[in-house]
């Protein structure tokens, strides 16, 4: 396959940034999008140019490190797929592909296509955990968990924290991420003790990081490589109002 790549280049957080266009020939249809980017970087190095920086790690679709907005879609046009799992056969020969970083004020560009997603870490640190005494593992059946609850918690826990929800949201809202991380624990008996505190502090950390507000577009869920449902946002809204009211009457 021969392709034209229109790629975002930015020297640092303070740089304005610009698009660069590169022709790349002989791309295998079986290569992943990131392998195509590797090939482009080798070509750039051979030409004596700076390679394009982009995030990647496991390349198995489970770590949440890869990003990229491809032709306007976070992680590309395929549903339920991360960029590393996106194959070049999904594009056509001669196509111009636009590659941009995940754009949000809360995700400042570090360089080129690499963005700083530590705002997500701050949300998780605010309440995406349970406080337990560590030591030997408790007996597996000591704490009964209804099957429905564990299924729903596992669906929320599927979130890999990639930030596609923020990148695809017209308002750069982090509600789907926060809802998945809070919902996962709020659904389980282990998460009950700190439920209200968790919801309030995670939402507060989210607001402080400069994400936008949810407008119920559903773009986040449509872009999510793990298909996290909008139900978790409804649940976060529900849990938040309960926590607020309890706080008022406490």
């Amino acid at each position: 396959m021969n392709l034209i790549l229109k790629v975002w280049r930015q020297d640092g957080a303070d740089d304005e940034g610009r698009f660069e266009t590169h022709q790349i020939n002989g791309v295998s249809e079986d290569s992943s999008f990131l392998e195509m980017m590797d090939q482009l970087n080798e070509q750039l190095l051979e030409e004596g140019n700076e390679p394009i920086l982009f995030d990647h790690d496991c390349r198995e679709g489970v770590c949440g490190t890869c990003s990229l907005t491809i032709n306007g879609f976070a992680h590309g046009p395929e549903n339920s797929t991360t960029t590393c799992q996106l194959h070049m056969r999904k594009f056509s020969d001669g196509e111009t592909i636009t590659v941009e970083p995940f754009r949000a004020r809360a995700f400042p560009v570090v360089r080129d296509l690499v963005v700083d997603r530590s705002a997500f870490d701050r949300i998780t640190q605010a309440g995406g955990f349970i406080t337990v005494r560590t030591g030997s593992a408790p007996d597996g059946n000591a704490l009964p968990v209804p099957k429905d609850d564990s299924d729903k918690a596992m669906d929320a826990a599927a979130c890999i924290g990639c930030g596609a929800c923020v990148a695809s949201c017209k308002n750069a809202s982090a509600m789907l991420f926060t809802a998945a991380k809070a919902g996962h624990l709020n659904l389980l008996p282990q998460g009950q003790a700190e439920k209200d505190k968790r919801v309030l502090s995670m939402v507060s950390a989210m607001d402080k990081s400069g994400f936008g507000n949810c407008r119920n577009y559903g773009e986040c869920s449509a872009a999510c490589p793990k298909d996290i449902s909008l139900d978790y946002i409804a649940k976060l809204n529900r849990d938040h109002v309960k926590a607020k009211i309890k706080k008022i009457f406490a």
């Binding site: 306007g72 004020r105 939402v203 994400f211 507000n213 773009e219 139900d231 409804a234 809204n237 607020k244």
Partner: protein, 243 residues
């Protein structure tokens, strides 16, 4: 309570919910005009004669809801724009419908519509002569009441007024199409199994409101251009003479 991002959404949802309910009651009240002057004049008179605290209490409550709804929307939109200073070069939409994307635009036009509508039929500042329309039709024994029937017929015989009203109601239809289902999502009373049902209910409600409000100006304009004959001809031409 309403300072967090989620809190502001509750405020939008709660005020929106009040207004969603109000438009239905308003529409149902309006439709009595199709049953003749007695009904609508008596209904309007009954509303106007409500005890002062109830009448003005409801008016102020509705006004506060509109103001809070609009003000919160402005705050939210400003924050949302700041949260994404640069759009994608290629901006695509996967799931969001047009009505959800254009809430700000439809809402702004509706705000202008509300102001005009109040000046038109409530304060009657647009055509002050509507104040002089008095009648005994639909009035209690020995009394004269405001002739709402004639006022509405006169009002909608201006083609531009009717066109503006119908367009505004179409925008309201779009606004409600997203707003109605968003209320449930923002308040957290929606789940995936109910999502489709609520979305369909929202669309149905939005179209019902559109049709219920638009039928009156459409009938009046239709009769003005001799396309239909719905209203009593003598009652229909009376307000024309007044103009």
């Amino acid at each position: 309570m309403f300072t967090s991002s989620i809190g502001k959404k509750y405020l939008m949802a709660l005020t929106g919910f009040v207004l969603i309910g109000f438009v239905f009651v308003h529409m149902a009240g309006n439709l009595q005009i199709l049953m003749g002057p007695e009904k609508i004049n008596a209904y309007a008179h009954a509303l106007q004669s409500l005890p002062m605290p109830i009448l003005w209490g409801s008016r102020i409550f509705l006004l506060v809801c509109v103001v809070l709804h609009a003000w919160t929307a402005i705050v939210l939109i400003r924050e949302n724009r700041a949260a994404r200073p640069r759009e994608n070069d290629v901006e695509v939409t996967k799931r969001a419908g047009l009505s959800s994307l254009k809430m700000g635009l439809t809402g702004t036009i509706l705000l202008f519509f509300i102001v005009f509508h109040l000046l038109h039929f409530t304060v009657r500042a647009v055509y002050p002569e509507y104040d002089d329309l008095m009648t005994t039709v639909g009035a209690p024994e020995g009394m004269e009441v405001h002739n709402v029937y004639s006022m509405v017929l006169a009002g909608f015989q201006h083609t531009w007024v009717s066109v503006f009203y119908v367009i505004s109601m179409f925008l309201l239809c779009g606004h409600l199409g997203h707003g109605f289902s968003s209320v449930f999502q923002s308040l957290g009373i929606r789940s995936e199994s109910w999502r489709n049902k609520i979305d369909w209910a929202a669309k149905g409600y939005a179209w019902l409101i559109f049709l219920g409000f638009s039928i009156v100006p459409i009938l009046v304009i239709g009769q003005k251009f001799d396309l239909i004959s719905f209203f009593e001809p003598s009652l229909f031409s009376e307000p024309l003479a007044m103009r």
